[in-house]
């Protein structure tokens, strides 16, 4: 936060520079999102033995851009009984929150817009706000299916946030800092230091606990982003398209982009919390490589991991059938919550014990 204002040209120069940085980051994020969206559809198609989008551009590479223009040039339809302000505000809020969270995500050493001390908590706070876009959109549509979808979604997201919170706490207890850069750096030096595969000699006892936490976080991330198999808010077979039924054109596009940004954000969080961020699985001797090369390599490593998780998200969507609502709630409250609570107690107990005896 404070660092943002120290760069040249006094306060306003710093603000201008930060604004440019944010703009560049957003553009990169949106363009990579376009290709990730295509990847999602391609993976889905491949599982179903289809070809997927392959008409626009080579291998359908420009499909997302074509879709973008299609959405933008359609007419915006606002239902007569809708609450207009809230109806328009909801997709904008979703997209804004999806972008705002990325401000604290470090993609390579030092490549972060705001290096907050409470970075993880900030991400958690922003992702817990995401439910408002959905609930506002569903209510403002003044229609039954969107409203039911919004209510389902609110209950679902609030439930799974709890276990996500506890999983994050286990990681924080191991690292001892809420700064995302610190969390990544504590996993440096090889795959055995990553929180998902904690095989370091002094922490090997925690390996089963942390691996379970990794799996729980992954599944809760699916539920938190309303991805299949937890896409009950927009279950086509029951609610047509859930809270998005009345949305068309650009507002719908904003909802969609926001949703996918949240998915990629969850992939990034999995990478940072459990997969060692930008550190490679086997330590690479950097020697006297120039700084920019190290940064670029780190960034590529980070991107590869995020894409890997996105691939997993896409595969889950293609393979797993949708959960029933009561099963979803049972999984969240009766299985994930007690398990993650027990893990918090185990990890903190381990930390206190090892600290006490200086192991």
């Amino acid at each position: 936060m404070e660092r943002m204002f120290e760069w040249g040209g006094g306060v306003w120069g710093g603000v201008g520079l930060a604004a440019l940085q944010v703009l560049a980051f957003m553009v990169v994020l949106l363009i990579s999102l376009a290709f990730l969206l295509l990847m999602d559809r391609k993976v889905w198609a491949a599982v179903q033995l289809r070809k997927g989008p392959n008409v626009v551009g080579p291998f359908g590479l420009l499909q997302s851009f074509a879709d973008f223009f299609k959405f933008v040039f359609k007419e915006i339809v606002i239902p007569a009984g809708a609450n207009k302000t809230v109806f328009i505000l909801a997709p904008i809020l979703t997209l804004t929150l999806a972008f705002v969270g990325w401000a604290v995500v470090p993609v390579a050493p030092g490549w972060v817009i705001a290096d907050l001390n409470v970075g993880v908590l900030y991400l958690f706070a922003i992702s817990s706000l995401g439910v408002y876009g959905i609930i506002m959109g569903g209510w403002a549509s003044n229609s039954k299916y969107p409203f039911l979808g919004a209510l389902r979604s609110a209950a679902q997201m609030v439930s799974y946030e709890v276990s996500i919170g506890f999983v994050i706490i286990t990681v924080l207890l191991l690292v001892g800092s809420m700064n995302l850069t610190d969390i990544v750096d504590s996993q440096a030096g090889g795959i055995w230091n990553w929180h998902a595969f904690l095989l370091r000699p002094d922490r090997i006892l925690l390996f089963p606990v942390m691996f379970t936490m990794f799996v729980i976080f992954f599944i809760s991330a699916l539920a938190e982003t309303n991805r299949p198999p937890f896409d009950l808010p927009e279950a086509e077979s029951e609610l047509v398209a859930g809270y998005q039924v009345e949305y068309s054109s650009t507002p719908y596009l904003l909802f969609m982009i926001g949703e996918y940004l949240n998915i990629v954000m969850m992939c990034a969080m999995l990478t940072i919390l459990f997969f060692g961020g930008w550190h490679s699985p086997i330590p690479i001797p950097v020697g006297d490589m120039p700084d920019w090369l190290i940064s670029l390599g780190s960034f590529l490593m980070f991107a590869v991991k995020v894409i890997f998780f996105f691939f997993l998200f896409a595969m889950v969507k293609a393979i797993v059938p949708r959960y029933r609502y009561d099963q979803l709630m049972r999984l969240g409250w009766k299985i994930f919550l007690p398990t993650s609570l027990a893990a918090v107690i185990l990890v903190s107990g381990y930390r206190v014990f090892t600290h006490q005896f200086g192991i």
Binding site: V11, V118, A125, L129, Y132, I135, Q327, R330
Partner: protein, 198 residues
Amino acid sequence: MLLIAFYILSSVVVLSALFVIAARNPVHSVLWLICAFFTSAGLLVLIGAEFLAMLLVVVYVGAVAVLFLFVVMMLDVDFVELKQGFLSYLPAGALLGLALLAEIAVVAVAASSRAPSGTFDPKPGAQTNAEALSKVIYTDNLLLFQMAGVVLLIAMIGAIVLTLRSRPHVRRQSAAQQTTRRREDAVELIDVKPGQGL
């Protein structure tokens, strides 16, 4: 810069608090309330208490206000009826408001007459404020903290006891039973000879 930010944020807080009571639609009121919560988190960031700010957003905006919104949206509110009660509630409301205002005035006068005791520091001794807060809560006042936890636990148990009904004839799904069920438990193949029957 900090001062400008403070004035912008605090006027947003005051205005949205005003709209909470001025809005005709209860859902809009809750949305304004959320806006007020979120902006007060911004004020906390300004004084350097970023941990508290994040907690405010996570707990109040992310959880409590969602439930508010949830409940208010499902209420069947008749706006005409809501307006009619206004005059009859006015004297009691005005009295309550005046009492609160008087209390604030008394506290403000008393506080301004006292000399300021040292400066306020959200990060004592170069700790992050999460560390400083956790030292106070989990080390200095551990007993009080645990007692507060027990009070909450009792409240929770009370809520469960009040709402728990045992309904004996309800058939529930047991996931464990379903997944451990084998083919032999369900299907029996019998080779029926022609003309004999079972």
